[in-house]
Symmetry: C2
Subunit: 334 residues, 2 copies
C-alpha cells in the first residue's frame, strides 16, 4: 500500500497520462498529490474516480510522501529528486538526467524488474523509443542472443510534450489554409514534414536521442558492448512512436519462431496479418498499453538466416513513459 | 532534336511534373502531345512557355511520335508501350511493369547512363525510393564497394498519385475538425498516421515496394547479389521521400571521406550542418532537383570503421520520377 504518492509535472502530457492510469491503482494508493509549476497550480485533474487539484511544487512538497513520479523534465528532476529522496521518498524519474548513473537502476519491468530494487532513492524510467524497441526485442534476445540492432524511428510529437502536440495541430491547420508553418516548440516545421530528431549532436555524429537508444539498451540488457545503431526522426504523428528494426542473431532465427516468441511476450501484441494487410500503426497503438509488433520477416541481406526485420509501434505517452513508470512502482511494491 | 514527344498520363502527378520540367527542354523538343484517359482529355496544361491541351490516349496516338514518356501506371504502360514501340517510338516508362525484364534497361543517369542505349524500344524509369537512395549511395560504392545496404523509408503521399496527396490534405482537415479519417485511396488512415507501404507482400515477407528497392538496386548497379534490405513506410508528407540508410563497406570508410565524395557527386546536395542543426527535410527537398544527404556518421555498431549511417531526402515527383525520366531522354539524345 502506498500512503502518499506525488506526481511532479502533473499538468504535462506524461503527467496527465500518469493521472489517467492511476485509476487502475486506486486500491493501492491512499493519497495522491499533484504538483506542478506555479502556472499549473489550481488545475483540476481527474485521478481515477476523484479530481485532484494541482499544487505548486516547492522544496516542502515531499514531507510524508513515500513515492514520487517525476515527469517535469530534466531541470526539475535534478533540483527536486534529491530533496524528495532526502525526505525518504523513492523517486521514479522520467527524465534522462539520472539514467546513466551507476547507482540508478534503469528499468523496463518486462526486462529487468529485479534492477528496480537496487536503487538508492531514484529509479530511472528509460527513454520512450528505447522502451518501445526493447519490449519487442528483449524476448528474442533471450531466445537467441542478438549481435546487432539497427533501428530507425518515426517519433511522434508527444515526445516533446503537450505544446509540441498542439504545435503539430495548429501548424498543420495553418499550412492547410495556405499560411506559413511557424515553428516554435520544434526548431523545424512539423506539418507535413519530418526531421532528424532535434537534440544536440555529439562528436561521434549521433544525436542525444540516438545515443540514449544505444546506451540505455546496453544498460537495461546488462550488455555494455552490444552493437546498436539508430537514426531518430520526428514525424507528424501525435502520440505513438514507430520503429523499423533490423536484428542480427548469433544463430539462425526464423520468422515463425519470432512470431511464436512474441505471441507470448509480456507487453507485446502481435499485429502481423499479411493476408489482411494489417500491421502496427500509430493510430492503433494510441491510447493502448501494448507495443504492437509486425512485418516480421527474414532479413534477406544477412547470411545464414541470422537476420530478422520487424516493425513496432507503441504509445509514447503510455508504455513509452507513464505506464512504464507505474509498472516500476509496482516492481517496488511487490 | 526531338520531332514529336508524347507524354502519356499527362494529367497525373508525375505527368504534370514532366510538363513543368519540359520547359527546360523547349529548345530540343519541336512538338509535345499530352495524352490521358477520356476523362482528362481537354485539360489544358502549361508546357514551358505554351499551354497544351490534353488529348485522349488511343492506339492511334503514336503515329509520327519519336519519344514517349509514360506516366499513367502499369496497366496503361502494358497496353500502350508496345503500340508506341511498334510505331517506331522509344518509350521511357515510369511504371514497374517492364523494369526487371532482361532486355529493358533500368537507368539512373548519374549511375548507368550507358545502359539507356541498350534498349529495344523501352527504357524503364526506376522506383522513386530506389532512385533517391542510389543517387546518394552509388558514388560511395564507386570509392569503396558496398557489402550491405539497410534502408528504412519515410515515403510521401505523392508516390500514390495526385489523389493520394489530396486525400492527405482532406483527411487531415477532417481529423483536425474532429471528423473521422475516411481512407479511400490508401487502405489505412494517413492523417497523423503512418503505415507499412500498402503493396502486396510476397512469400519472403517483403512488400512489393521493398522488393523493388532490392531488385532494382541490384540491376542498376549490375550486382545481382548485393545484400540489400528495406522497410518501406508511408508517412503523412506530401511529395518528398526520406530514407535512413545504414551502409557496410568492404574497407574502412570515414564520415569525412563520405562528405568529400558526396560534395562532388552529381545530383547530390550535401546538407549536413551539425552546428546549425540543418539536415535533409522533405520541405527543403520539395520542388527541387537534388537529393539532399546529411546526418553522415560512422555507424558505431559496425566493426573496423566499415559502417556509415546517413539520411537522404528527395522530391518523389521530380528526381524520383519526372526529372529522372527526362534525364534518361537526354541520355538517348546525346
Amino acid at each position: 500500500m502506498i500512503q502518499h504518492l506525488a506526481v511532479v509535472g502533473a499538468t504535462g502530457a506524461v503527467g496527465r497520462e500518469v493521472c489517467t492510469l492511476l485509476g487502475r491503482y486506486s486500491h493501492r494508493v491512499k493519497r495522491v498529490s499533484l504538483l506542478a509549476s506555479k502556472r499549473g497550480a489550481g488545475t483540476r485533474i481527474p485521478v481515477g474516480e476523484t479530481v485532484v487539484e494541482v499544487r505548486e511544487l516547492t522544496g516542502q512538497s515531499f514531507k510524508g510522501v513515500d513515492f514520487v513520479i517525476c515527469c517535469a523534465g530534466g531541470e526539475v528532476s535534478r533540483q527536486f529528486a534529491p530533496i524528495a529522496v532526502g525526505e525518504g521518498a523513492v523517486v521514479i524519474d522520467n527524465s534522462s538526467v539520472f539514467r546513466m548513473e551507476a547507482d540508478v537502476p534503469l528499468v523496463i519491468p518486462e526486462i529487468n524488474p529485479g534492477d528496480a530494487r537496487r536503487h538508492r532513492g531514484i529509479v530511472a524510467n528509460p527513454n520512450c523509443s528505447t522502451i518501445i524497441m526493447n519490449v519487442a526485442v528483449w524476448p528474442l534476445h533471450q531466445a537467441n542472443p542478438l549481435t546487432r540492432i539497427v533501428v530507425d524511428t518515426y517519433q511522434a510529437a508527444s515526445g516533446a510534450g503537450a505544446s509540441a502536440m498542439e504545435e503539430l495541430r495548429v501548424q498543420t491547420a495553418d499550412v492547410l489554409e495556405g499560411r506559413p508553418a511557424r515553428p516554435r516548440v520544434f526548431r523545424h516545421p512539423i506539418a507535413f514534414n519530418l526531421f532528424s530528431h532535434d537534440t544536440p549532436i555529439g562528436p561521434d555524429g549521433y544525436n542525444t536521442e540516438e545515443r540514449k537508444m544505444i546506451d540505455e539498451t546496453r544498460k537495461i540488457f546488462h550488455q555494455p558492448s552490444l552493437a546498436v545503431t539508430a537514426t531518430c526522426v520526428r514525424v507528424p504523428v501525435l502520440r505513438a512512436h514507430s520503429e523499423a528494426i533490423h536484428l542480427t542473431f548469433e544463430r539462425p532465427m526464423s520468422p515463425d519462431s519470432v512470431r511464436e516468441i512474441l505471441r507470448k511476450a509480456p507487453g507485446v501484441e502481435l499485429v502481423d496479418d499479411v493476408r489482411g494487410g494489417r500491421f502496427p500503426m500509430p493510430v492503433d497503438a494510441t491510447g493502448r498499453d501494448p507495443v504492437l509488433v509486425g512485418r516480421i520477416r527474414q532479413d534477406a541481406s544477412q547470411p545464414d538466416s541470422r537476420g530478422i526485420a520487424l516493425f513496432a509501434c507503441g504509445d509514447q505517452l503510455r508504455k513509452g513513459a507513464a505506464l512504464n513508470a507505474l509498472q516500476i512502482l509496482e516492481c517496488l511494491l511487490d
